[in-house]
């Protein structure tokens, strides 16, 4: 599972109707181009692909008012809405190391009811714990981890990062159970996209200093 579909569905759904550049801007507003594959090519590709699959409805629209080639507006369909929630739930349970998917799910998290989110996150933690013991039991030789040599450090890295991920998840659960944020069915929904003509305060994202990416 890649994060791009969830991100794009989120943006289109929030707008009701959106063209590619709008989606692109929203995702930049989220900083998604920093931590996911949400770059122009991928976004336009995902829109077309999902339109072909019936998750989005494409409307050919007159040339834009602001220069550039004619643009296509997209609307989410019922199938798309269903897929959106499927991906969102999956992103919260899946305990592998891909931060982009989890980040995307995190951004959409308030579209689910609070109780369900807590349940999904607990499933996530349980999965990580099971994975941890499976890995350590399977890979650690009987005569101690030192026998693996430096290769053991790879496993060490995985386990460390799983542990740290589980710890973070537990913290999030606590915050949510403690009443943080506003979830589905709890009044005024939060708006996570830029309005027409609104400026993006984070446009350039994280300042690039000697970029290692």
């Amino acid at each position: 599972m890649s994060a791009i579909r969830l991100l794009v569905l989120f943006a289109v759904r929030q707008h009701g109707r959106a063209h590619g550049y709008q989606v692109r801007n929203d995702l930049e507003y989220w900083g998604a181009h920093e931590w996911s594959t949400a770059k122009p090519g991928s976004i336009y590709h995902a829109l077309k692909q999902m339109a072909k699959q019936g998750l989005l409805l494409a409307h050919e629209v007159a040339p834009s008012t602001a220069g550039g080639p004619p643009r296509t507006e997209y609307e989410i369909t019922d199938a798309g809405r269903e897929e959106y929630f499927r991906l969102l739930r999956e992103s919260l349970i899946t305990y592998d190391q891909k931060m982009d998917v989890l980040s995307a799910g995190l951004g959409s998290i308030v579209d689910l009811p609070r109780a369900e989110v807590v349940e999904l996150l607990k499933e996530r933690v349980a999965g990580m714990e099971a994975w941890r013991s499976a890995v350590t039991e399977h890979y650690v030789p009987e005569d101690g981890p030192a026998q693996l040599g430096h290769i053991g450090e790879i496993m060490n890295l995985w386990v460390h990062s799983a542990d740290s991920g589980a710890e973070w998840t537990r913290g999030l659960i606590k915050r949510i159970e403690g009443g943080a944020y506003t979830f589905a069915g709890e009044g005024e929904p939060w708006v996570g996209v830029l309005g027409e003509g609104e400026e993006n305060p984070y446009a350039t994202g994280i300042p690039d200093e000697g970029d290692t990416h």
Copy 2:
């Protein structure tokens, strides 16, 4: 940077001369198919690509002794050796979240001298610390992180995972400075590939239970 090239170069270099299936087996021995894109298609693709780019030398060889189509053997060139060390160093400094690249580098780490490894890892930590303060300064609004709403949790996740990554790296530095493992120029090099006809004890990798990947 993807991990596949580093992994493939490593395997070919260790063998002196290797065909695709051999590389594939070595990487499975490492468990690399679990945590990277080291799957058949990618491996054969990488071999061909790198041969085209002069990093590997391809030898057409008679049909294999053990059935199956004729196979191609590859040998690393000087350019390939150079690229191998370049990628290896890069994988150790780069502080973004991609675990596969770091894992691949970790596997090859003993091909560098101990002192250089320590230096590279310190650079890694420094980079993470700089990144952390850049992100927090840039993204946290003046009126407190609470203003971001649940979106702040994305940043929280990044920062948490950067901190945990830095902590892990510091631990590794300590172990290496403390004399762990055998590095380049310190005698008997460690052998990380399967010999001819040797069996892979980890063939199936991590047991898949209710796979979430």
